[in-house]
Amino acid sequence: MTVTSPRMHSHVATSSVSNITVQQPLNAIRGVGLGLKRELIPQIQNAFGQDYIANINFVEIAPENWINAGGKSAKQLDWFAERYPIACHGLCLSLGGIGPLNTDFLKQVKTFLHQYQIPLYTEHLSFSTDAYNGQHGYLYDLLPIPFTEEAVHYVAKRIRQTQDILGQQIAIENTSFYVKAPISTMDEPTFLNAVLTEANCLLHLDVNNIYVNSINFGFDSHAFLRQMPSERIIYSHVAGHHTQSQDLLVDTHGEDVIDPVWALLEDAYGLFGTFPTLLERDNNIPPLPQLMHEVNKIAEMQASYDK
């Protein structure tokens, strides 16, 4: 089955594996989005309807933070679901992890996506579980999968299983890494492309992660970008990072976006056309008016390439 450019879809996101459709069209996620952090929730609620936040077109949440939440959190989520399209960006599915995929969790994700009419679910090309002393356990972080042939087949199979359960395509994010697996037999773009093709899934392009990895592993980020499959790009992230040393960047989402990352985003828009882009800010979060400078910058960049 061939994949048409998701950006060309005008109707609903249909699954490649079943006839189930999600209730909101995938293109409800468009323009610029902001990660929904607790600190930002009351600020966005207070500023709602004001011109200065008009460029927030959608918000993004991690299902691991919101599934089964009651009380104040549930009311906040209802408030946002009534006013903004929501994208879901998972952290703990552990697509590359040892042990069976957590299908109970995936069923909860499916219910959650339907409940809040969330059209897009993306996950990381990483693992977050292990089998220490023979027991499967969560480590709640994004750990690097070695880039090997076996790993391609293993991860692609689990992505397909995920898509089967959800009844929709998911997008996979290129993840930032801090250490090279000595057993890797291919480079990151080759691995990423092989997984995307074999799993027939979409690409969630994290522009900051390309830059972080280009410094950590000494490659040309713009050349990397040119190896990405345009037709699969559905969504993207930009963020700031922490410079631990000259050749080691850590993806903290705690700083402003730096110029080389802006240049990379602009290069991507030029190469592939624009796609919905989310500003990730998880730590050291400035007040909303200040954060809007970066949201607006993305919107301006998109406008100039959408002409």
């Binding site: 691991e64 009380g71 703990c92 089998a131 969560y138 480590l139 709640y140 972080d141 076996e150 293993y154």
Partner: protein, 262 residues
């Protein structure tokens, strides 16, 4: 099971073993020590922050160094089952209930109770238990005669708690020297604020009887108060009933009791 693993999985296993227990486990072969050290730090820091946020009193009572060692032991010895971040503190509680948590350090007897009490605040604040309010008469006060033969409805976030220590009074300056049987009630009010109420043993028993089991098995208010009178060997049933009803009406004014079933 490790013999069935693919080569990249063997590597992953060695990778996470080192992150969990860097003192005992060796680094995977030929790996950059600086790079894997980043993972060692971010995995632990994330877990430490997630756990510590839920247990502010416990960490102060234990002290910085002992708390750090305890969370290190948690990472080393516990395999967490839940992918939900909100449940990390619950995973920590199940670790505290294991023997392995006290293998490397001496922990106070009251620590589990204290941590449980601190966790209840999180559990109640995020509880998604619901009740069908169309089945509830919220107008009829408990003191109304008509209510006596009905079953009581509690706020669905309510938890009845029984501890061996007076957990609600513990602080670094006030560490318990002896066990004290302690009963509490925790719930979330209509403003989504978590409240705790101290209970005496009789009230605890009364509320346990009224809230326990399935609705169709539950006793009516009158049946429950008669049972309490019987358990207390009190012949003056009417004074027990009026005393019990006053307590329930007071809990209704605090939004613990929502009403009676229709």
């Amino acid at each position: 099971m490790t013999s069935n693993l693919l080569a990249f999985q063997q590597y992953q296993l060695a990778f996470t073993a080192y992150i969990r227990d860097p003192k005992k486990q060796s680094r995977p072969k030929n790996i950059d020590p600086v790079g894997i050290a980043v993972y060692k730090e971010i995995v632990f820091t994330n877990l430490f922050d997630a756990v510590s946020a839920c247990f502010p009193v416990a960490q102060k009572v234990l002290g910085k160094r002992a708390w750090l060692r305890l969370v290190q032991s948690f990472l080393r010895n516990h395999s967490a089952n839940s992918p939900l971040f909100r449940q990390i503190p619950e995973e920590f509680l199940s670790f505290l209930a294991q023997k392995s948590c006290s293998e490397t350090q001496v922990l106070p007897d009251y620590l589990f109770s204290l941590c449980h009490y601190e966790w209840v605040e999180l559990a109640v604040s995020s509880s998604n238990n619901t009740i069908d309010l169309t089945l509830v008469n919220v107008e009829l006060g408990v003191l109304n005669d008509e209510a006596l033969n009905r079953k009581l409805v509690f706020v669905p976030s309510m938890q009845l708690l029984s501890y061996d220590y007076a957990v609600q009074t513990i602080s670094p300056q006030k560490k318990p020297k002896h066990p004290i049987s302690t009963q509490l009630l925790a719930y979330r009010n209509s403003a989504d604020i978590v409240k705790f109420v101290e209970l005496n043993p009789v009230t605890f028993r009364l509320l346990s009887l009224l809230s326990g089991g399935e609705v169709n098995e539950a006793l009516t208010i009158n049946q429950t108060l008669l049972k309490i009178a019987e358990e207390l060997h009190r012949p003056d049933q009417s004074s027990i009933i009026s005393f019990g009803l006053e307590i329930l009406e007071d809990l209704r004014s605090q939004e613990v009791v929502l009403g009676v079933y229709l």
